[in-house]
């Protein structure tokens, strides 16, 4: 038994050593007391490359080190609720509000939006091309029983899609007809599946543009006000646990809504895709975006 106790101690010591070897936080003159913050966010902000621009900028300006965990919005909100993250950057307004009411999160600021679009094969078997409302397009897909790929992963995009179906006379999410396929994967993979199956899906514009060259899909319906994809930053309530770095979380939130950062967001992707991927909104209110 003694040998095993020794082994265990050795293992623990090694793991502590390994964590001590973890990359050292950049030290600046204004080095904060607790420099580590955990940001829980959605795959779309990471897959589009936006965070690769914003996070280093923030780390350089503030001296904080940000650990970015990219998961679905459902998981990101759960991490906030459990106090496993300090700050959240998410896009499911209806699911965000309960966390503010319950006191799980403390501050919430409007950061930016981009938009969703309904994409599908060029042949467009359901004939949705050019329809002006998402509701009309989804109803046509359901009527013609054309294959539709849903994320099915409780992400922000998935929550949005399910909300859109409730405005139609169809509820494939409950009845699970054969034409309604749930991929259970991220947006990039779901677009690939839709492309291979010549099916329809709903996607955020940023991920679609980033993957476009690999896809046989076209944007068929866009521009409807309900298709806005609105991002908020939320700080987790420090009363939940001593481990929460509220000062750092608030610094990151304030960084995102700072006018200089908002300009960076506006410019992001213009060079590569010829159009912006995100539209800064810090000077607007939820009401301006129809929330």
């Amino acid at each position: 038994m003694k040998r095993f106790a020794l082994l265990f101690t050795f293992l623990l010591a090694l793991s502590l050593l390994a964590s001590a070897c973890a990359p050292v936080t950049p030290v600046t003159s204004t080095a904060p007391e607790n420099p580590n913050i955990i940001l829980a966010t959605t795959t779309s902000t990471q897959d589009s490359g936006l965070l690769d621009v914003l996070v280093p900028l923030f780390e350089e300006q503030s001296g904080y080190a940000v650990q970015t965990i990219a998961v679905g919005t459902g998981a990101a909100l759960a991490m906030g609720q459990e106090g496993n993250a300090d700050v959240l950057l998410v896009h499911a307004p209806a699911a965000e509000l309960p966390l503010m009411e319950s006191g799980d999160c403390k501050d919430r600021f409007l950061v930016m939006h981009n938009d969703f679009a309904i994409v599908g094969p060029a042949s467009d078997p359901a004939g949705i091309r050019g329809k002006t409302t998402a509701t009309e397009a989804l109803a046509l897909i359901a009527e013609s029983e054309a294959t539709f790929i849903s994320r099915g992963d409780d992400s922000g995009t998935n929550k949005k899609e399910r909300a859109l179906w409730t405005d139609t006379d169809y509820s494939p999410n409950d009845t699970k007809p054969a034409w309604y396929v749930e991929s259970g994967q991220g947006m990039g993979n779901t677009l690939m599946i839709a492309s291979e199956k010549a099916a329809y899906t709903m996607t955020d514009r940023a991920t679609f543009l980033a993957n476009q060259e690999n896809l046989d899909l076209e944007i068929l319906v866009e521009g409807d006000e309900v298709l806005l994809n609105v991002y908020h930053v939320m700080t987790v309530n420090p009363e939940k646990s001593n481990a929460i770095n509220y000062t750092g979380a608030l610094a990151f939130a304030n960084f995102l809504i700072d006018p200089a950062t908002q300009d960076v967001i506006r410019e992001f992707g213009v060079e590569k895709f010829g159009q912006p991927l995100f539209f800064p909104d810090a000077d607007k209110t939820d009401a301006d975006l129809g929330l």
Partner: protein
């Protein structure tokens, strides 16, 4: 694309998986020997548990380790979640049953008369175990290779407990998932080939040691 970042990711993957395999050997070799040679009640039950552990799904291990290490979990105060140490812990949990199970199988395949003979020659218990390890060195090296293979190629646990954080916990497998999600299939394939090459080189080195000792 073979820039400094890819180099850093590769080195990190190798460091994490090598350390995890080393720790698995440290636990698995004595434990497997004990299970193979010991005579005590519940031994075959423990062996069955270890053999089941050889097929543990990495993503389940990841979830379990993450729940332990999250701030809300019992070991949250250690602040290990989303660090390389967290990945090492998860990978040890994945690979030590592999090393343990294959060590036990290797030693049990030896001729039981060998132990009697060694005792007859006056060997102490430690000397006897040492001789058995030397005798079984070929399957033991195979156990080491299997342990390394199970962790360098694993993605579910690394993603969950490491978080795929750039410059900190992004390893080759999680980088491949990320690049696939971004639609950069060419980069994902290049990283995949890099991973295969590294796994091959490590196994080549171990096989060389194994076969050299076989000829002796």
């Amino acid at each position: 694309m073979f820039n400094a970042e890819v180099f850093q990711i590769t080195i990190l993957s190798l460091q994490i998986s090598a350390l995890a395999t080393g720790l698995s050997l440290f636990i698995g070799l004595p434990l497997g020997t004990w299970l193979a040679l010991g005579k005590f009640p519940g031994r075959s039950f423990l062996l069955s548990m270890v053999n089941t552990g050889m097929g543990l799904p990495p993503v389940v291990v990841g979830l379990f380790v993450a729940m332990m290490l999250w701030r809300s979990g019992p070991l949250g105060n250690l602040q290990l979640i989303y660090t390389p140490a967290a990945i090492i812990i998860a990978q040890v949990v994945i690979s030590f049953p592999v090393v343990t199970g294959l060590t036990a199988a290797a030693l049990q395949a030896l001729d039981p008369r060998l132990i009697l003979q060694l005792y007859g020659l006056g060997a102490s218990q430690m000397q006897m175990i040492w001789m058995l390890w030397k005798e079984a060195r070929l399957p033991l090296l195979a156990a080491l290779m299997a342990g390394f293979g199970s962790v360098i190629s694993e993605v579910g646990a690394s993603m969950m407990v490491g978080g795929n954080i750039r410059y900190q916990t992004r390893v080759l497998t999680t980088a491949i998932v990320l690049e696939t999600g971004k639609g950069n299939f060419d980069v994902a394939i290049a990283l995949g080939l890099l991973l295969l090459t590294i796994t091959f080189l490590v196994n080549w080195a171990l096989t060389w040691i194994q076969q050299r000792s076989a000829r002796r």
